[in-house]
């Protein structure tokens, strides 16, 4: 449950953001990362952005997740 996912802020109003990771979009808040700006890639955990992430790092994680999803659907269902 400590999993945090890098995602890009694609909408931002006050501390309410919409974030995107590989096409998945969800709401998050930037209360804990007041310096976050539109377009930033941030680490999102339990509905909150908790740190900035550099683009490269995020890409690696997204690739890893994509791979895991593939493996999961192949091997670990049920």
């Amino acid at each position: 449950m400590c999993l945090a996912v890098p995602a890009r802020i694609i909408e931002l109003e006050g501390d309410r953001a919409v974030v995107d990771a590989m096409g998945n979009r969800w709401k998050a808040k930037t209360t804990l990362l007041p310096e976050a700006k539109l377009g930033d890639v941030v680490l999102v955990h339990a509905g909150f952005a908790i740190s900035q992430v550099d683009e490269e790092e995020a890409k690696k994680t997204w690739e890893l997740f994509a791979e895991i999803e593939e493996v999961r659907s192949e091997n670990f269902d049920g």
């Binding site: 449950m1 400590c2 999993l3 945090a4 969800w26 808040k29 209360t31 804990l32 990362l33 007041p34 680490l43 955990h45 339990a46 509905g47 909150f48 908790i50 740190s51 992430v53 550099d54 490269e56 790092e57 690696k60 994680t61 890893l64 895991i68 493996v71 670990f76």
Partner: protein
Amino acid sequence: MLDRVAQAQHTIEQACRGLDRQITVMEVCGTHTVSIFRSGIRSILPEKLKLLSGPGCPVCVTDQGYIDAVMQLADREDCLIATYGDMIRVPGSDGSLETRASRGNVKVVLSSEDALQLARDNPGRTVVFIAVGFETTTPATAVAVQEAASEGIPNFCILSGHKLVIPAMRALLSGMNDRIDAFLCPGHVSVIIGSGAFAEIVNDYHRPCVVAGFEPLQIIEGLAEICRQLAAGTAELKSIYNAVVSEKGNTAAQRITAECFEPVDGYWRGVGKIAKSTLALKEQYRQFDAFKRFGLQDKPGKEIKGCRCGEVLCGLIEPMQCPLFGTRCTPQKPVGPCMVSSEGTCAAWFKYGRRK
């Protein structure tokens, strides 16, 4: 990337060759546990290097007494339980939240904000947010509590079981399991508390602490750094997760957490009471404290019969040494929390460990 893996592997092998004893490295993060298994890192490590999973899964370390308090609240007509999904199947002394969910008073939420929204939408019932998790998760709870206070939402409260990683590491080193030679420190906890927070472990106990991310490459490079230090007989604090973790951590999150919470003595499954290891709401937020509102106590609960999660969490035994592992206890029918949570050590061993 393969070069770097080979390089790290070489460092590990050389270091181990030079040591005349087994070395034990503990990771204290459920995500590390899963990543280590999934990537098969264990299979390329020398025999001499032993990896142990420590108390890094928040659901697993939560004491039975707390779980039983949750069940008591779930049995009340006037309460609505808002919980992260991981908690839902954890067995209490009498059933789990899952068994109570059919009555409609248990809701799975993805964030503390969702729990607060549930309170706004259900003014007739008290929403109790089951607030578990380490330093990464706590600030989110704190934000919700502050919002509830400033908005004046009377029917929202939290049952804080939030835990601190460093007191647990200290407790392990001061007696429970002093065989631990080094720690692979949790990346996302470090995002909040900063890599510098582990300096006290290095200084007070002379154990290498290396903060690493979750990709296999980061983990193996972290292990290589640990082995290098152990072979050289040094103990240093090092972060190889610099793209995300700073030395000071997220100070805004630390501030909000400190405004709402203070450390108190708390119970951990298998470890027992650890001084100043659990976060309780400060007096000024007492109206949001479910323990106070419902007159509950955070007291130690009865351990589940036959389950050896406590010893697993302290790295004293491996899941396979539990007689129930894989027989009476499986992810489909878990007996203890270490088999329930996808980050639990028993679940990881069940899913991946036997493939080796």
